[in-house]
Symmetry: C3
Subunit: 276 residues, 3 copies
């Protein structure tokens, strides 16, 4: 392709590009929302109810403006008002998540620390906000928010995933939760866990492809659980690095059997050239 | 060491430090390049061919200036011109990558979403740009770009790795692809996959230490494939969490055998004190 | 909850919020410290000893000011002076870490590249700084710094972890090292390794919950090692994706036994519909 032809091809692509999404604007709004709901995160808490009301009003206006740039099923102003009306429930849900993290992690000093610094809290907070927009049929923005959280935390939760209350993510790097996953209440999930699809073919769009995790399940680091028909029964424990593609009943314990072998080197010097 | 001696030691280190690399400048250039090639990512698409040509010209000038700060085998202006001349091919390769991601992921809505938000696309895009500089013998900059992409995506591809067309990374957090890895066309790789070195000794610098993955191979989450002599034959499928250090022929399926054991607790209350 | 009641509840939360932590200030200080100690990272090295002394003096003043916002056991000025007095030892430790990375990674070109771009170096550098504050009883700040490093690198080291000299992290995404882990000298740890807790109950706060790794141990990608009583003896090698919850003696090699099965498809066309 000649340089001129390339310029023309690029120009055509730029002219045909979909209306740009105000991505940084939405991410900033999400951050502002967390700071408003959880002053432990804010650099400067608000002084009184008037300041809170004013800040919330500006936030709603900004959200309305940004939503005008997206093709939403509802009018933007109505959608933004809906979001604001839902904030008390969102905040209560997130407080339950933070409490679940504090209860489960001996290293956590309290709600303040979890809300201000834990990536698992950040990821579930952005997910619950993005999931609300996803449920209301807002295109593109939910995924943009989930990728923003993914970039910051290494935790990749598709905004379509349905996650019950008191959800505890610990550490979290490498977690992947797919679009049609369903997770019950009081689940606890460690770093590197995948709740993914068994086979991945484009025609499966719209079908449940990811597992169901019932209440009070614990899944340890690096476990991979796949398939839309896979159900992990309530109160089950899935051990680390397990590869699970079928259902297990309630109160199951799934773990590696005899998976390791320990060899003591007769001649310690031999270790030096050892290769796994 | 006394405070004064420490100050002197630091001052000496500062005086001896290699010419600083304009790191943020190169990362910004990479972002600008992606926005130019893929207006779906840009906040403001360019209006016409003149704007595209002008933007590309400025980009080439900026690249030349930055390359002057690095010891390049070719003159900086010549190298920058080479890069620009190669952009049509780079763009075509990246479109094939984006199409491969769309085709494989039922959750992907289309090229626009993949290009604008998928970390796997971002990582392969920066890799292909960095690999071009690596092939031309540019020091330090390729690795700087790959670490920038690693920081943003959790995907760590050494700029030396050779990756065929229509490469699909899904999710991607925790992927590591080593310097001498070779990957064929139409490969698909999930989060947490390592294509690494078997034994790691400094004298192996320059020798092929990382595996070869042939065409149409799928590697599921968390698989670890090691060694410079390890070849995964075409159309093979490597299951999740597999640890593979030897070659497998074409059309192989490699997976865990009987790796899990399910125990149903007789007394559900016993679960509470259960520890893995 | 009515909108007004929600506003009142938020206002109350804002009024009760703990004094905000100057988080961005501490993160900036940590970056400035690394640039001061390792001019290979700096965009502009300092010209002479006077410039170094002045920069260090300003850094100490800024640290003092920030520490005034935190409830520290020592007076802030005394604590900051202690930190500065400890910098020569910190720098020597970090140089040993960088040298260990260079020695172990055939792809590393030298100290300059490791210090400037390797996330493993960045993570251990921030850890050693944060651990110093943790040992001196500074609240909240150490964890804030470790989460900052976690966000940038995907490497999650609790500031309480005790890590010996010449520590080598390669790649690193997904590594988790718990609060009470103890690691000897010359350890080498790859991406996705967890040194975690066996059972996680809040009342275990303050008890050793994470493993001890003795000198010269190598732990490959994705291994999960759990438990406060688990000791990995010196010179041991832990293979990738291993799940280890008990002690192993010195010079052990722990790896998966017969974990994979290779099936060659009789009819290659059958692969197309294959699902793991």
């Amino acid at each position: 392709m000649s340089h001129d032809a390339f310029i023309q091809a690029l120009a055509q692509a730029h002219q045909q590009a979909a209306a740009p999404l105000p991505g940084p604007g939405f991410c900033l709004l999400a951050e502002q929302l967390l700071n408003l709901l959880f002053p432990e995160r804010a650099e400067r808490p608000l002084r009184n109810a008037d300041a809170v009301a004013a800040t919330l009003g500006i936030w709603q206006d900004d959200l309305t403006t940004l939503l005008l740039a997206v093709q939403t099923p509802q009018p933007a102003a109505e959608l933004a008002a809906d979001c604001v009306a839902n904030l008390p429930i969102l905040r209560d849900m997130l407080l339950l998540d933070a409490e679940a993290i504090v209860a489960a992690d001996p290293a956590a000093e309290g709600i303040t620390e979890v809300v201000a610094t834990y990536p698992g809290f950040y990821a579930i907070a952005l997910h619950r906000f993005a999931h609300g927009l996803y449920q209301r049929g807002v295109p593109r923005v939910p995924r943009l928010l989930s990728e923003y959280a993914h970039q910051r935390t290494g935790i990749d939760i598709h905004p379509g995933a349905r996650i019950g209350r008191s959800f505890c993510i610990d550490h979290g790097t490498g977690i992947v939760i797919g679009e049609t996953a369903v997770i019950g209440a009081h689940a606890k999930i460690f770093q590197g866990v995948t709740l993914g699809a068994l086979s991945v073919a484009k025609h499966l769009q719209g079908i449940k492809r990811h597992p169901t995790i019932e209440d009070h399940v614990v899944i340890y680091a690096g476990a991979t659980i796949l398939g839309g028909n896979t159900v992990v029964g309530s109160h089950s424990i899935i051990g680390g690095n397990v590869w699970l593609t079928e259902s297990v009943p309630s109160h199951s314990r799934v773990y590696h059997r005899a998976q390791i072998q320990v060899t003591r080197a007769e001649d310690p010097a031999a270790d030096i050239s050892f290769s796994i």
